[in-house]
């Protein structure tokens, strides 16, 4: 038995991509399949350097279609399998993820968002929200965690494996180029030491016994002959998703009770949102902070509660309203005015949020 990658608590200062490789090791991920694309490459770099010691595997594929479908294969074999991608790679990844949705396969994908559309920049954006939450031909039956700190990258990479295997929906950790490349302090730990039990995996194919004699053969398909046959399957999936959604949904909020304006943001931008709200509060502005951690499913009830109290939502994101659309759908009918601060593909500072709120409030 190889030793545990992390023994006790370990305070470290490292890049987000390195954090994800360590978290996947700590989560007992068995195999990574991947294809190079900036800014996620170092996840593969660190993973391939560390795995011989811990008896894990890696396959570099020919593209992201293959990375996604081989990851699907790893999951079918009953292994904790994952991949990582970004931008145009995420576009290709949507095809295998639609198969994972159709067959309820607990695939884990890390996305480090870069600028779009197309090749755009290798640096940073929040423009992969729509695609990661609702991509593929289907109904968006997936879980998306949007992280804001390196500690969260570590925590939610571990959690993603458990959410995926518990509920059997493909699960994404949605980071970005800033989180991928910058260094930050965090505490790494062995999940068991924090009372986190890794959800057991099980094979879909290659179970013990002779198929057709000792057990039924596994016959997995994503094709259906008639509309009603598909509808029956989807009704069950949608019911499962609706039941799981409140258990999965997570958010972070403060100062919303008496707030006239609530800053809504996610991921790394929520750091600016948080600092801006704290600064504005000290200056006497009645502002609040709300950040969905799960973009899919959204914490709809909590969001609506805030939307029924506050007069204004200021949605702040490094995209042209991708979070905004999700929030508008979730809060439909609530008497809140929606205001934008959109900078597609560009970072947003605390000062910009503060200035925008002051501009609104006069």
């Amino acid at each position: 038995m190889p030793e545990k990658p992390i023994q006790g608590e370990k305070r470290v200062f490292m890049t987000g991509n390195e954090v994800i490789a360590w978290a996947a090791l700590a989560a007992n991920a068995d195999i990574m399949y991947g294809y190079p694309i900036t800014p996620q490459n170092e996840i593969m770099h660190y993973w391939t350097r560390m795995i011989p010691k811990y008896n894990r595997k890696f396959l570099q594929t020919e593209d992201e279609l293959s990375a996604g479908f081989t990851t699907v294969g790893g999951v079918l074999a009953g292994r904790r399998a994952f991949t990582a991608t970004a931008g145009p790679g995420n576009t290709l990844m949507q095809e295998p993820m639609s198969m994972a949705e159709a067959m309820r396969l607990p695939v884990v994908v890390v996305v480090q968002q870069r600028g779009g559309p197309s090749t755009a920049t290798v640096i940073y954006s929040q423009q992969e929200v729509t695609m990661t939450t609702l991509g593929g031909n289907g109904e968006g039956l997936r879980v998306v965690y949007s992280t804001a700190t390196h500690q969260e990258l570590y925590d939610y990479t571990i959690k993603a494996f458990n959410t995926a295997w518990k509920y059997r929906f493909p699960t994404f950790v949605l980071g970005d180029g800033y989180q991928a490349k910058m260094r930050e302090s965090l505490t790494m730990y062995d999940p068991a030491d924090r009372g986190i039990e890794m959800v057991a995996t099980e094979p879909y194919v290659g179970k013990p016994g002779m198929p057709g004699v000792d057990r039924d053969p596994t016959h997995l398909r994503n094709t259906y002959n008639v509309e009603e046959e598909l509808y029956e399957v989807l009704e069950q999936y949608l019911a499962d998703y609706a039941k799981a959604a409140p258990e999965i949904a997570e958010y972070e909020a403060f100062d919303t009770d008496d707030a006239e304006l609530v800053v809504i943001s996610h991921g790394v931008v929520s750091r600016a949102g948080k600092a801006a709200v704290q600064e504005l509060r000290q200056a006497g502005y009645k502002v609040g902070y709300f950040r969905p951690i799960t973009l899919r499913p959204l914490p709809v009830d909590q969001l609506r509660e805030v939307a029924n109290k506050a007069k204004q939502f200021l949605v702040v994101e490094s995209a042209n309203g991708q979070l905004d659309r999700l929030v508008k759908e979730a809060t439909f009918g609530c008497p809140v005015e929606m205001l934008p601060l959109f900078k597609p593909g560009v970072g947003i500072t605390t000062e910009e949020v503060v200035a925008r709120v002051k501009e609104i409030k006069g």
Binding site: Y33, T61, G73, R79, G206, T223
Partner: protein, 252 residues
Amino acid sequence: MSVQPAMPKCWNMETKPHKFCPGCGHGLVLKALGQAIDELGIQDKVVFGCDIGCSLLSWDFFKVDTVQTHHGRTTPVITGIKRANPAMLGIAYMGDGGGYAIGAQHLVSAATRNERITVILVNNTQYGMTGGQMAPTTMPGQKTETSPYGRDEESTGYPTQGPEMVAAITPEGAYVARGTVANVKQLKGFIKKALENQMAGNGFSFVEALSTCPTNWRTNAEDTWKFVEEKMTKYFKVGEIKVPGPREKEGQ
């Protein structure tokens, strides 16, 4: 008459008669595969992956663990399973479109990596499920829905020589052959050797099977057989193309 035709033991009788069109070659290829699985005694070790197109109709064909994937994506799914659990014997089953067009990059890359999987590709010279469009394997001059005046090699190229390509790009240890439903006994032998090659851990194994599609060829029984036996074999040579073993070194 109460004599039942002999069917492979690993066939799933609950889904027979099968769903393919009358005269389709898939049933013969899958019979050869079933016999090979029986003879090798590997029913509990096989994972069978089928593609999109007519091949997907085999998703419940065998009493072996099976996964139906996307168009062209069976090779990476089976690769992913094999890499994660090398004790399994992975079979990727697809048509010519899946292997030579939409999934060509996966076939090429799995072959060059010498993945320890077996790919069985059914070549019936057109896209059957979608209604008979031109495929990479459509014969020069052959009429299809998207080459209604016959395939023009000047503007659409020549038929893909799949096994020849795979043989050229695979490292030592690979097994490559082209069989035909016109000779099922030989085809079964090729498939069996391909599976044995995977069991031995030698390398990638690939069998193309020349097959029939009277529905889209719009041929009667006689012309169907003539097409697969006479016309197709003029362009697609049947036989073993690469077998494992040391090559003769240059200058010796």
